[in-house]
Symmetry: C2
C-alpha cells in the first residue's frame, strides 16, 4: 500500500440502510468510503437493463463518471422459476410504479396459482458492481428458497414474507435482522466484493 | 504470503482449451494450478441448475470436495431477450444431447423468426465460481450483442457465427482468436476471479 490518503470509493446508493450495511462490510479496507450526498451528487439512473448485472453496472459506471471516483452499486430481486425468472429486474416495480410491497406480493401469489403445485422454487439474487479503473467487476450472492402459499412474518420488506427457506423452516420475514444480514444475498455479494477490492488494492 | 509451497487450486474442467486459458490468466498468482487429470479425478456433475451461477457453483463444490482442494469452475451460455433468456443454461444442449453446433444455431434462428423484428438483443454470459474455505465466490463476464439474421465467419464455435457485435460490425466468429479472448465473457470472468483470488491470498 502506498503512503498518503487512502483512495476513495463512492457507495452509489441513496438508501441509508444499504449505505450502513456496505460501510459495515467494507469498513476494514484501506479505502475512504463516501456516499453521493457527501459529494453533492444525485443521479437518476434509468435501470432498464435486462439483468441485475447490467443495472448494477449502469449505476456504478454513471456514478463513477459523475464523481471521477471508483464507484460501487447493486441491483437485486426475486427470480421465480415457474414464472420464467420473473419478477427479476422488475421486482421493485412489479405491481406498477406507485404500488406498495403488499400489492407486489399479492400479484406474485396470484400468478403462482396457475403454476404447477410442485414448482415453487425461487431465489433472491443480488449483484454488486464496481466501476474501477475503466473496468466493471461484479460479484453476486443468492439465497435459494420457495414461494410460500401465504404470508408469514413481519420482519424485512418486499417479498420477504412469502419467501420460504426450507432449510430454516421460516420465511425471510421471520428471521431476526442479524440472521437475515448474515445469509442475505446482498451480504454475500458485498462480502465477495470486499475480497475483490482487497485484490485490486494488492494489485496496484 | 507464508513461506513454503504455494497453495494448490484445482481448475475443474476437462476442456483443454479452457484449462490453457485459465492457466494463462491465473499464471502469475502464487498458486499451484492443477487439472483434474493430474489428480486422477473425473467427475460427472449433473448441471441441472436454473442459472449459470448455480451450475458453476455445483461443479466447483463437487470438485473441491473430491480433491480436498479449492476448486474453480465455470458455466456459460447465450441469453436471448426475445426468447426470455433462452437458450441460457441449456445453450450447450439446445438441439438435444447429440446435436452439433450447426443444429443449435439453426434452431435458434428459426425461433427468432417469430420474434419482433426490432428485438434481437442477446448476451454471452460466463460465470466463474470458486469453492474456497467453505465459501463459493462467483464473478461474471458478459458480452452484449445481437442475433444475426444469418451465419457469418468461421472462427470460434457454438453460437459465435450468429452473434453480432454492433460496436465491431462483425460476428464473434469473424474475430481473430486474440481479439475474441481479450473481450470474451470467459476472459472477463476469469480476470475478475484473478483479482478476487489475489484478495483471498492477501486476506490470509
Amino acid at each position: 500500500m502506498r503512503n498518503g490518503a487512502p483512495p476513495s470509493l463512492l457507495l452509489a446508493t441513496e438508501n441509508q440502510g444499504k449505505l450502513r450495511e456496505m460501510r459495515q462490510i467494507l469498513g476494514d479496507l484501506p479505502l475512504r468510503l463516501v456516499g453521493p450526498a457527501e459529494l453533492g451528487i444525485h443521479l437518476d439512473v434509468v435501470e432498464d437493463g435486462a439483468t441485475f448485472e447490467k443495472n448494477a453496472a449502469l449505476k456504478a459506471r454513471a456514478y463513477a463518471e459523475a464523481a471521477g471516483l471508483p464507484a460501487l452499486a447493486d441491483d437485486s430481486g426475486l427470480e421465480v422459476d415457474a414464472l420464467d425468472g420473473r419478477p427479476g429486474v422488475l421486482s421493485a416495480r412489479y405491481a406498477g410504479e406507485g404500488a406498495g410491497d403488499a400489492d407486489k406480493r399479492r400479484k406474485l401469489l396470484a400468478e403462482m396459482e396457475a403454476a404447477p403445485e410442485s414448482k415453487r422454487s425461487a431465489r433472491f439474487r443480488c449483484v454488486v458492481a464496481l466501476a474501477w479503473g475503466g473496468h466493471v467487476y461484479t460479484t453476486e450472492g443468492t439465497v435459494e428458497g420457495e414461494i410460500a402459499r401465504e404470508e408469514r412474518g413481519s420482519g424485512g420488506f418486499g417479498y420477504d414474507p412469502i419467501f420460504y427457506l426450507p432449510s430454516l423452516g421460516r420465511t425471510m420475514a421471520e428471521l431476526a435482522p442479524e440472521e437475515k444480514n448474515t445469509m442475505s444475498h446482498r451480504g454475500q455479494a458485498a462480502r465477495a466484493m470486499r475480497i475483490l477490492l482487497l485484490g485490486l488494492l494488492a494489485d496496484q
